[in-house]
Amino acid sequence: MKLTLTVNGTEYARTIEPRLLLIHFLRDELGLTGSHWGCDTSNCGACVVWLDETPVKSCTVLAAMTDGRRVTTVEGLARNGVLDPVQEGFSACHGLQCGFCTPGMMMTARWLLDRNPNPTAAEVREAISGQICRCTGYENIVRSVLWAAGNDGNDGNEGNDGNDGSDDDGRD
């Protein structure tokens, strides 16, 4: 079947098998290997990307379901070569070790901060609770996201301009 979608701002058209999972489409068809696959059961979150504005586990989404929609992956997190504060925070606070869970964690973190610019540690923990990290024990991931919250908007991160100062739940 035919699939047309936008990934990280670039439009792609491909012919795919209807059963193809989004994670495999991104990785094998588009070569965007930043999103990872870690389980068969939608438990680990290594595959988290955004579908439009919402984080999804891309191992649990058929590529076909993204027709006409926007997908954002870790490769789209930096804008114009400027790292997202979330990315900087993960490095500054040692929020990653092997780096396998990191892309999914960062995509969820960005989504959280867009809705809740000043989360508590407990709110960060809840936001990432559907994702597994086997390396960090989560503490430094929490610190990384809080670091990013403290540094959001300091470095011209364009991706957030529309949301700065907004702390209500969600956009449409």
Binding site: D40, Q87, R134
Partner: protein
């Protein structure tokens, strides 16, 4: 700190490797995509024990996208149906005679895409004749038990080995003389390290050059290269192993797995690269499990709590093949360090390994070669002894801990501990916890009917294997190399034989070299994980990277520094003896402004400068480090829990960890390792177990059933540090990668059992799920299902 080093490069600097990972530009095995690459998939046995009557792969081979199908018979023709394990046993690559565990490899399909390979598996018809499975290790030695390994000549039971350490008579005497003896049966259940990246390979046999290149999830690329050469017959110089970025390993990526061999043969047969990545169920059901020790422990003491002796009898479930990854002469790993951190005059342990119809493995998951089982045993017994004697468990530990002046200390089973100040570490942990106040709070809560637990554990590990005369894997002595090249501009490249799985070697090892040579860590590039570009060594497991390869890096750097001294002397026209290494430069004694740093010296070494006879015109050096002894990291942990007696739910409120891993090169990375281990301990103690039903069906084959701790179960750890350098390591470092995984489960269990003390609970087996806690409260602490773990 080492007075001769340049200094300044240690410290909590951000990691170099982060730059690629935060951009999604890591290169994991599944990210490798070669032109013409094919995809493999493994057909696995649905049964735990069955004779294979026939395998019909004709329909699969006829699938339009299938390029090859391999069965056990096909591999047998190439003498590859069986492969050696790391413990001197053999393991079926693809089963020919019987299947011996659920999930065992039976056939391999190579197709043009992932999905087609999976489709074709469905087309293979295997006729099995079911056999009674042996699942409960405790019945393995019964007469009439099903025989798992009828393939082994002369094997007429299910015993793998009998092994003992310590002095039986002296220990028996100590027990006879004791005022009090406490004993307990405890199960350290089977678990799985479950790194977030599963195992996989891209195998590329180039038919023209004869070169076999493997991108593979390997913690030990060099040792694996030797093994692949021995198994496949491809000459070793024609094999290149690249272990790219690894998404965790924790010991699961030390063994060779059948899927790797299948992909290699698949590439040989098709002439194209073949990728095989296992899925999560395959990972949990077939690759290296951990633990599975059924232990009977006894502790003898005087009435005032002086420990006199320890005894342990262990039944070790090794699964269907003896494939434990550990020093070959240590069939129970380092379990016999089970006297732990205490001055125990007499100790004796016996371990019997048995085959069962379960996946092979046993040594994995940051266990420091079974030290975690040993620590768990002694720390549970110590707590039980404290309860029996009505002595506070912190006080009882304090009375028995080794004293600083006892080091180097040789324990009752022969290990020589290098250095330590144990009471200091325990006092610090008690201080951070506010121990006395916690006990007061506990008493108040108990009076209100609330169940709060305070659990301690103190651990000592022996890591950094090993002295090469004593420790080898299949004859390869456990040494590691470092290869240091200093370019004319003073920038350096360090090749190492160990392989990071997230531990941050690219940063730590750069710091090590920079520190020795007065460089910035930015000036040192670390190369690892590529056997064509790095020196030989046995790899990363058992917390050996810093103790062994880190030491090799130091030795190589110091060789560079010594040659630099000769070059600097020529530059400054002074005698080499007139130079001293100070603040990162060679300086003229008495005139320290007359100085040359490594960058200037490197350029001079490569210039036309006249060098003294015998001084080679470069600043490169290499080293192979063979440790004189293990290093012995230690620590004191305290876990505070709250238990809901109605639901059995355990909440970990606080976790305090004081670790002493000797000199810390990058404290930020060290703390990250401790954070991980605490999460492991909470997971292992409270939720993780691979269990089976009576038919041998694995009940932990997915993340739906094999529960891992999330951000909601893991507390924010409170860390402390003491630094007792290792006297025999060139920079005094001891290794930290496994400490918290080894030490923390006992603290969690001790805490929960402490919380349940008002119910009379003295022991309950892991994992302490709500159901297990509830059973313990009901007076039924034994988990019948764990008999099958």
């Amino acid at each position: 700190m080492d007075a001769t080093s340049g200094g300044g490069a240690y410290g909590p600097i951000p990691r170099k490797e982060d730059a690629r990972f935060i951009r999604g530009q890591g290169t994991f095995v599944d990210d490798i995509c070669l032109p013409g690459m094919l995809y493999g998939a493994v057909l696995r046995s649905p049964l735990a024990h069955a004779r294979i009557v026939s395998v019909d792969a004709a329909a699969a081979a006829a699938h339009p996208k299938v390029m090859a199908v391999l069965t056990g018979e096909d591999l047998a023709e190439r003498a590859l149906a069986w492969m050696p394990t790391l413990s001197g046993d053999v393991q079926a690559v693809l089963a020919t005679d019987k299947v011996r565990f659920q999930g065992q490899e039976v056939a391999f399909v190579v197709a043009t895409d992932r999905y087609a390979a999976r489709d074709a598996l469905e087309l293979i018809a295997v006729d099995y004749e079911p056999l009674p499975p042996l699942i409960d290790a405790r019945t393995a030695l019964d007469p009439g038990a099903p025989l798992v390994r009828d393939d082994l000549p002369g094997q007429n039971g299910n015993k793998v080995f009998d092994w003992a350490a310590g002095d039986r008579e002296a220990t028996d005497a100590a027990f006879s003389a004791a005022d009090v003896v406490v004993s307990c049966d405890m199960v350290y259940p089977r678990s799985h390290p479950a790194p977030l990246e599963t195992c996989g390979i891209v195998a590329d046999m180039n038919p023209v050059s004869g070169k076999l290149t493997l991108w593979v999830t390997s913690q030990a690329p060099h040792a694996h290269r030797t093994l692949y050469a021995m198994v496949t017959g491809v000459p070793e110089h024609k094999i290149r192993i690249v272990s790219p970025d690894l998404g965790g390993g924790f010991g699961a990526k030390v063994p060779l797995y059948p899927g790797y061999l299948c992909a290699i043969v698949g590439s040989m047969v098709t002439g194209r690269p073949v990728k095989w990545m296992e899925d999560r169920s395959e990972n949990l059901m077939s690759t290296a499990f951990a633990r599975d020790y059924h232990m009977h422990g006894e502790i003898a003491a005087t009435a005032d709590g002086k420990i006199l002796g320890l005894r342990a009898r262990v039944l070790a479930d090794h699964g269907a093949f003896n494939a434990t990854a550990q020093p070959t002469r240590f069939p129970a790993g380092f379990f016999h360090i089970f006297t732990g951190s205490y001055d125990v005059p007499a100790a004796f342990c016996e371990v019997t390994g048995v085959f069962t119809n379960k996946a092979p493995g046993g040594v994995a998951y940051s266990c420091s070669f079974r030290v975690t089982e040993a620590v768990y045993l002694v720390e549970r017994l110590t707590d039980m002894l404290a309860r029996q004697l009505a002595i506070d468990p912190a006080e009882l530990r304090m009375r028995n801990l080794l004293k600083p002046e006892q080091f180097p200390y040789t324990c009752a089973t022969g290990w020589q501990y290098d250095s330590g100040d144990y009471p200091r570490a325990l006092r610090l942990a008690l201080d951070i916890a506010g121990y006395a106040e916690l006990r007061r709070e506990q008493a108040q809560r108990r009076a209100r009917g609330e169940y709060m637990g305070i659990g301690l554990s103190f651990f000592t590990e022996g890591v950094g294997a090993g002295p090469r005369s004593q420790m080898d894997i299949l004859g390869l002595a456990m040494a590691d190399g470092a290869d240091l090249r200093v370019h004319p501009t003073g920038k350096a490249v360090l090749g190492i034989s160990v392989q990071t799985q997230g531990q941050g070697h690219e940063t730590t090892f750069a710091q090590i070299v920079a520190h020795e040579l007065g460089l910035s860590p930015d000036d040192v590039e670390v190369v690892h994980g590529d056997t064509d570009r790095t020196p030989f060594g046995l790899g990363t497991y058992g917390s050996r990277s810093t103790p062994v390869s880190g030491a090799a890096a130091v030795v190589a750097a110091r060789k560079v520094r010594e040659r630099a001294r000769l070059v600097a002397a020529a530059m400054l026209e002074v005698a080499a003896d007139d130079l001293e290494w100070l603040d990162g430069k060679w300086r003229v004694r008495g005139d320290p402004d007359q100085a040359r740093g490594i960058a200037e010296i490197a350029m001079a070494a490569h210039s036309t400068l006249d060098l003294p006879d015998g001084v080679e015109a470069h600043l490169d050096a290499s080293a192979v480090y063979t440790p004189p002894n293990l290093t012995y990291p230690f620590g004191a942990y305290i876990c505070v829990t709250d238990v809901d007696p109605g639901t059995g739910e355990v909440k970990v409120r606080r976790f305090i960890a004081v670790d002493d891993c000797g000199v810390r090169i990058n404290p930020m990375i060290v703390e990250g390792q401790v954070h991980r281990g605490i999460a492991d301990g909470i997971g292992i103690a409270l939720m993780q177990a691979i269990v089976f039903d009576e038919s041998g069906n694995c009940l932990g084959g997915s993340f739906m059933d094999y529960l891992l701790p999330t951000s909601m179960e893991c507390p924010s750890p409170e860390l402390g540090a003491t630094v007792t350098p290792s006297p025999h390591h060139p920079i005094g470092a001891k290794g930290i990668g496994e400490s918290a995984t080894v030490g923390s489960p006992a603290a969690v269990v001790n805490s929960v059992v402490d919380a349940l003390a008002p119910f009379g609970v003295v022991h309950a087996d892991m994992p302490l799920t709500p159901a297990a806690v509830w059973r313990a409260i009901q007076g039924r602490p034994i988990r019948p299902d764990l008999a099958l773990s």
